[in-house]
C-alpha cells in the first residue's frame, strides 16, 4: 500500500530537522577543541550517535516513505542558506541512498527500528564526509580565510587521506548504529511508556 506524507508529517520533519541540526552542531562545537586537529573526520560519527535518537523518533512517528529524504532536503536547504548550496545536492543524494535501504518491504519496515537505524547509518556514512566534499569541489582556496593555518593544513591532510576518509565513513556508520541502539532503549523507556509512540519492532 502506498502511503504519502501528509501535512502533519511535513511539520514534524520541519521541527525535527532543526533538532537534529542543533544536536549535531552542539556536539560538533563541543568536540571541536578536542578533535579539530587530532581526529576531525571522526567528529561527525559522535554527532550522529547523539542525533540518532532524534531521527528514530521522527521516523517511527511518521512511518512512511520519504521522511529521510525530506529531512535531508531541509538539512541541505539550511546549508544552502548558510552559503553552501552544494550541500543540498550532496544531502539529497545521501537521503536517497538512505531511502533506498528502506524500499524493500510491505510498508511496515518504515516503523521498524532496525531498518530505520540502518537507513540512518547509510545516510550518516555520507553525512560524515559532507564537510570535505566542499574542499574537493571548491578547492583549498576557500579554506584560507575561514580557518587558521594549522586547522586548514590538518583539514587538507584529512580530506586527501584515503585512510581517514574510509575511517570517517566506517566510524559514522558504526556510531549511527550504536546511537540507534541507545535510542531504542530511550524510546522504550520513555516514549512508548508515555504512549507517545507505538512500540516499534
Amino acid at each position: 500500500m502506498k502511503v504519502k506524507l501528509k501535512t502533519k508529517d511535513f511539520i514534524l520533519i520541519g521541527v525535527f530537522s532543526v533538532l537534529i541540526y542543533v544536536v549535531n552542531a552542539v556536539v560538533g562545537f563541543a568536540l571541536m577543541p578536542v578533535m579539530a586537529t587530532s581526529a576531525m573526520p571522526l567528529t561527525s560519527g559522535v554527532c550522529l550517535f547523539f542525533s540518532a535518537v532524534v531521527y528514530l523518533i521522527m521516523a517511527i512517528k511518521i512511518g512512511k516513505k520519504g521522511g529521510l529524504f525530506l529531512l535531508s532536503i531541509v538539512t541541505g536547504l539550511i546549508y544552502t542558506i548558510m552559503g553552501v548550496p552544494l550541500m543540498l545536492l550532496f544531502f539529497a543524494a545521501a537521503g536517497l541512498l538512505g531511502e533506498a535501504v528502506l524500499i524493500p518491504g510491505d510498508g511496515s519496515q518504515y516503523r521498524r527500528l532496525s531498518r530505520q537505524a540502518i537507513a540512518y547509518a547509510v545516510y550518516g556514512a555520507l553525512f560524515g564526509v559532507g564537510g570535505y566534499v566542499t574542499i574537493y569541489v571548491y578547492g583549498s582556496d576557500y579554506l584560507e580565510s575561514v580557518y587558521s593555518a594549522d586547522i586548514r593544513d590538518r583539514m587538507l591532510y584529512f580530506a586527501y587521506s584515503p585512510a581517514w576518509m574510509t575511517a570517517s565513513i566506517v566510524f559514522s556508520f558504526g556510531m549511527s548504529l550504536l546511537g540507534s541502539l541507545f535510542a531504542a532503549k530511550l524510546l522504550n523507556r520513555h516514549f512508548v511508556k508515555a504512549g507517545m509512540l507505538r512500540k516499534a519492532g
Binding site: 506524507l5 501528509k6 501535512t7 502533519k8 511535513f10 511539520i11 514534524l12 520533519i13 520541519g14 521541527v15 525535527f16 530537522s17 532543526v18 533538532l19 542543533v22 544536536v23 571541536m32 577543541p33 579539530a36 586537529t37 547523539f50 535518537v53 532524534v54 523518533i57 512517528k61 525530506l70 532536503i73 531541509v74 536547504l77 539550511i78 544552502t80 542558506i81 548558510m82 552559503g83 553552501v84 548550496p85 582556496d141 576557500y142 584560507e144 580565510s145 575561514v146 580557518y147 587558521s148 593555518a149 594549522d150 586547522i151 541507545f182 530511550l186 520513555h190 516514549f191 508515555a194 507517545m196
Partner: protein, 231 residues
Amino acid sequence: MKRRIGFDPRVQLLIVLITGLVSFLGELHTFPWLIGFIALYLAVQGIYKPTLWFLLTAALLYAAKEWSPASPTGLWTIVAFFSLLGLRLLPVLMAAVSLGRVPAGQLIVALRTVRIPMGVLVALAVSTRFLPILRLEQEAIQTNARLRGVSAASPRNWLRPLRTFEYTIVPLLMRSLKIADELAASAATKGIDHPGPKTSLYPVALRWQDAAVLLVYSCCLIALFGYGGLK
C-alpha cells in the same frame, strides 16, 4: 506611529541566499561593508535591538581575530577558529533575522508563487520558526534540570555524558512532539490540506522597496567584488 519599511518574503529569502554565498566566497576584509549593509537593511525594517547586538558581536569577533597571533597555539587556536567562523556566519544570521520575523502564513503564501513543493515549503517554514521556540523550551527545561542537579550546563554532569544527554534530550523531544502536533492541528484548522485554490490575508506583490533594496545590494556587491572582494 513610526513607519517601517517591509519587504516581500521572496526578496528577504533572496537576500539571505545571496548573503550566504557572499559569506562563503567573499574575502574577509569586505565583511565590515557587508555587515554594515545588512545592519542598515535591518534598521529600516525597525529591527534595532538585535542589530545592535550583532554589531557588538561583530566588533568583538574582529577584536578577537586581530588579537590572535598569526600562528595560534593552544587556547588561541580555538579563539582564532571561532572568531573566523563567527565572522563568516554573522552576515547570514543577520539577514535571517529579518526572514525569521515573517509570519509563517505569509512566508508560505509568498513562496508558493515560486513553485516550491508544498511539503518542502511547510517543512522549511516550520524549521525557520522553530529555532526561537526551541531556545525557549531548552531554557525552561534547563531551569528545571538545574533545580534537580541534572543540568547539562553543570560541569559535574559532563562526567556522565549519556545520562546528562538523556535528561536534556528526552524532555526536549517530548515538547517537540507536542509542538509539532499542535502546529499540525492549527494548520489543519486553517485549511492547509484543502485541495482547492487558497486565499490569504497577506498580499503578495513586489513593491518599489523590494526593487530598491535588491538594486542597492547588487551595486554594493559589484563594487566590493570589483575591488578584489571575491576569492
